[in-house]
């Protein structure tokens, strides 16, 4: 294990000066290849696309949280000059409930198609009902207002607790609770029950000397990417479609759009734009099928861009939910049992990440007797989308709060308590997996040693710590490494770069090829230029797509060795690869040939040189563990919280580009701090979202935060050639608990509800 302290470890190590890990490029911090375009305003994001003859789309959205659509009248809109096409749900094929992909996070195209555009019913404020395309955005927006929709308003149900009641209004009359035996005959808002169990926690709990138990609640929050969803679609005369869009997966857009529009995959080409933040929220589609249909009907390219209000009302959020947690321990701090019950709001369609909450909540701990029960509940809010480690933060918030309480009860340092019980190599998690070598304990140990943890606190100040876990995944990735005539290299993948992954692809290719990283150009290709890749999510890209890049680079090396063997007239196995050159093993008279040398004679030795790899990585994605420390000061007069210090410690495997790894930790921490302190969806009684902009949906700004220190614990992952572990999601898991524990310790009372607004804190203080 090695440690990198994020502080005072800045932007050098450039150009192969070498690193402590023995690599020449991996672990250095070169300027990212796409950087100059991004600091000069040249990079094209979703909304920057412009096409000849382009017209603009606008969406009609429901002003009601729950209603039947009786009639849509387009007459007035169609009379407006400049309007070229209108569409509603009727323009799309009707899918069946059986149109779905199974899995831990199942994907229902039936639901997706009704989320993208409502059919007979609207299920949340902002639900799309119809769309119009016109020659200018202003005309399209005006036309959208002229489309008359007649509703029969129904009673909305806004929280899991209400939706689970016997007499609650039903969102779907064809939804029957999954996961109970026998399947009920009566429709319900409870989409699914998930239960996971190891041992017998009820019996084990009886052997506890101490038990802590509590109820915790959180609200709906949004990913809050700064770039609103945007796309453009063009329908060619031959019936083929091009879609330009910013998303976490061009192939994802192609597949989902094809399904929803009843088209063949080969008819749709998706060209990825730069993506201005996703955090999981751009792993699904909203506008693309609408733009496609409007383009088809109008015969013109159509561009669609959401406003911030539309983003808040109709995309993203992640589930609010409640948790009941119970942990039992011996006097010496040994945990004997844990139980967790989670109720998550899925939004208008099933599929909250509650099962993932159940799987992750207790993962940092070695518990032989543990049970987690999860309820997936539909409510009249936008359908939840993935958000960074989906499901895990809320579960961790409850468990980590309980652990803090337990540490107090036992009089044990909270990190020592966690270390004593930390999951390690060989620990079996509640979801059945046995961990390999993991960095959980290493992080706790590193946390205890930080200067931060040993800094004394002042009056009204409190410190909180929390741990977190995320699985990380592999999946299908492809890569092509092309050697240009001058020996420079192109690395093409199908994985959108959402936070600097081009830089890590270039570094890994440089390391394998032995070519300077500045001579490598990584790019994100469209769906017709590289083979299929899964979307960017699950912290999989540096791991799995990185592996594809490594394999493709090795394939290219093989090709180059073949060329050298041909020139030297020796057997292939007489050629080796060292420091970016082919060398002849037995004969050192023969001058090695560099990539540039071989590239120059490519034509004479068999044509262009490239390597490729198409892989599906099903094993070896090393799980990620992290520990965060947060110090706050609470103003007892106003309840206002100031974050004084924050440190994120995480096992990151091998950090390919440490600056971007630190950035993941810092960004995840900041999002978690926002979740803990400010962010929440506020609805009216009628179910209308009241805070649809950044003014009152308040994400952290620069003046809200201190520097966020990082400690990169590097326990290389044996499942990857360079030891890579996914890093992007774990950092949002601990902050909710860390901040809540800090605030609770500052005021001497346990905070059990997020966000911890000044009003809530004052109320707690005043409760005596």
């Amino acid at each position: 294990m090695t440690l990198q302290n994020g502080n005072g470890h800045n932007g050098n190590g450039h150009n192969g000066s070498g690193t402590s890990n023995g690599y020449k490029y991996v672990g250095t911090r070169p300027v990212r290849p796409d950087g100059v375009d991004k600091v000069t305003g040249r990079a094209n994001f979703g909304a920057d696309i412009s096409l000849n003859g382009m017209i603009y789309g606008s969406v009609v959205r429901s002003p009601h949280a729950h209603a039947k659509i009786k009639k849509i009248n387009f007459d007035k809109a169609l009379k407006l000059k400049g309007v070229k096409a209108v569409i509603s749900g009727k323009d799309f094929p009707t899918l069946k409930p059986s149109d779905k992909l199974p899995g831990v996070a199942p994907l229902s195209f039936y639901d997706m198609s009704r989320n993208v555009i409502a059919r007979d019913k609207v299920l949340y404020d902002g639900h799309a009902i119809a769309a119009v395309a016109a020659t200018t955005q202003a005309i399209a927006d005006k036309a959208a207002k002229l489309i008359d929709v007649e509703y029969k308003i129904l009673k909305p149900v806004m929280t899991a607790a209400d939706a689970m009641k016997e007499k609650a209004p039903l969102l779907h009359d064809d939804l029957f609770t999954e996961g109970v035996d026998p399947t009920p005959k009566k429709a319900s808002n409870i989409a699914k029950r998930t239960e996971l169990k190891l041992g017998d926690p009820e019996v084990a709990m009886q052997s506890a000397d101490f038990i802590v138990e509590g109820d915790y609640s959180t609200e709906t929050v949004h990913q809050g990417y700064i770039e609103p969803h945007a796309c453009a679609a063009n329908f060619a005369q031959d019936g083929s479609v091009s879609i330009w869009a910013s998303s976490q997966g061009a192939f994802m857009i192609r597949a989902y759009t094809a399904r929803l529009c009843g088209m063949s995959t080969s008819k749709i080409k998706v060209i990825p734009a730069e993506i201005g933040g996703g955090f999981g929220g751009k792993t699904t589609i909203y506008l693309e099928p609408l733009a496609l249909m409007l383009a088809k009907k109008s015969g013109r390219p159509v561009k669609m861009t959401m406003s911030r209000t539309e983003v808040m009302r109709a995309t993203g959020p992640t589930s609010g939910g409640t948790a009941h947690v119970k942990i039992g321990a011996k006097k010496d701090g040994t945990l004997v049992a844990g139980t967790l019950e989670l109720k998550y709001e899925a939004g208008a369609f099933p599929g909250s990440p509650v099962a993932l909450g159940c799987m992750t909540g207790f993962a940092p701990y070695d518990l032989k007797d543990v049970a987690c029960l999860g309820w997936d509940v539909v409510v009249n809010r936008p359908k939840a989308a993935a958000y960074r480690a989906p499901g895990a933060p809320v579960a961790a918030y409850a468990v980590e709060s309980a652990m803090d309480e337990l540490a107090h009860k036992l009089g044990i340092d909270p990190l020592t308590l966690r270390r004593k019980n930390s999951a390690k190599e060989g620990t079996k998690a509640v979801y059945g997996v046995e961990f390999d070598r993991i960095g959980n304990e290493d992080c706790l140990q590193a946390a205890q040693k930080t200067k931060h943890y040993n800094t004394p606190l002042g009056e009204n100040q409190g410190r909180g710590v929390a741990s977190g876990f995320w699985f990380n995944i592999g999946g299908t990735s492809s890569a092509e490494v092309m050697i240009n005539e001058d020996g420079t290299v192109i690395v093409a993948t199908g994985s959108p770069d959402i936070g600097g992954s081009r830089a890590s692809m270039a570094l890994m290719a440089a390391e394998v090829l032995g070519v300077d990283v500045s001579r490598i150009k990584p790019l994100v290709a469209d769906t017709e230029s590289v083979p299929y890749s899964d979307l960017t999510g699950g912290s999989r890209v540096t791991f799995a797509t990185g592996k594809a890049v490594i394999d493709a680079a090795e394939d290219a090396i093989k090709d180059m060795k073949r060329r050298a063997a041909k020139v030297w007239k020796v057997d292939f196995d007489q050629v080796d690869w060292e420091n970016g050159s082919a060398i002849c093993i037995e004969n050192d008279e023969i001058k090695p040939m560099s990539v540039a040398d071989i590239a120059q004679i490519a034509g004479k030795t068999g044509g262009a040189i490239s390597g490729k790899a198409n892989i599906n990585v099903t094993k070896g994605a090393g799980p990620g563990f992290g520990t965060h420390i947060c110090d706050v000061e609470v103003d007892p007069e106003t309840g206002r919280v100031t974050v004084l210090r924050y440190t994120a410690i995480q096992d990151v495997g091998t950090a390919i580009h440490p600056s971007y790894v630190e950035g993941q930790l810092q960004g995840g921490a900041a999002q978690g701090i926002g979740w803990a302190l400010n962010e929440e969806y506020v609805y009216s009684k009628e179910g209308n979202l009241l805070n649809t902009g950044f003014l009152d949906y308040r994400v952290p700004v620069a003046s809200d935060l201190p520097m966020i220190d990082t400690v990169l614990v590097e326990v290389p992952n044996a499942g990857h050639p360079f030891g890579v572990r996914g890093v992007g999601e774990t950092p949002i898991v601990p902050p909710l608990g860390a901040v809540a524990n800090a605030v609770s310790n500052a005021i001497g009372k346990r905070m059990t509800s997020l966000p911890m607004s000044p009003a809530k804190i004052l109320q707690k203080i005043d409760a005596g």
């Binding site: 800045n10 000069t40 911030r308 600097g500 900041a670 620069a702 003046s703 520097m707 966020i708």
Partner: protein, 157 residues
């Protein structure tokens, strides 16, 4: 709605555009002039992605009408540095890895450059407050603040 003829200076060049009376400066820049480096994150003045300077003053281009730019000097991200000769703020953003997705970056660079023109030696707190109108959801601001402080140091010489 009829369009109005507006004359302004954009990044040092004289520009004439026709814009609707209700069109924002942001839409004029992006849609009428093709200057898409200035981004829209909210259109309500809350995110700073559309930061530009107007006669040296930092403004949200989404809160100003195109017609109000008549006779003014506008500077956008496209006017700050070129790849061969980046502005120190841009260079330090790259070196410090102060961007992840990059959508907020043009706004931050315009705002930070404007700060350093007014205050060449800002404290960390001053940088944080000056940039409090610019949202970044990716970085947690840490590396952005460091980049600005380093650029300031370099520019002071």
């Amino acid at each position: 709605m009829s369009k109005q003829h507006v004359t302004m200076t954009v990044n040092g060049d004289p520009v004439e555009v026709l814009c609707r009376a209700d069109q924002t400066l942001l839409d004029c820049l992006r849609d009428e002039m093709g200057l898409t480096g200035t981004k829209e994150g909210c259109s309500t003045g809350d995110c700073g992605a559309c930061s530009v300077t107007v006669d040296g003053r930092l403004v949200c281009a989404c809160l100003m009408l195109g017609v109000e730019a008549e006779g003014r000097k506008i500077e956008t991200i496209e006017g700050i540095g070129e790849s061969e000769e980046l502005h120190p703020v841009q260079r330090h953003f790259l070196e410090e890895a102060a961007l992840q997705c990059g959508i907020c970056t043009p706004g931050f660079i315009v705002a930070a450059k404007n700060l350093l023109e007014k205050n060449p030696n800002p404290t960390e707190e001053e940088v944080r407050y000056w940039l409090a109108g610019n949202l970044c959801r990716c970085t947690g601001y840490d590396k952005i603040i460091k980049a600005v402080l380093k650029a300031a140091e370099e520019m002071r010489g």
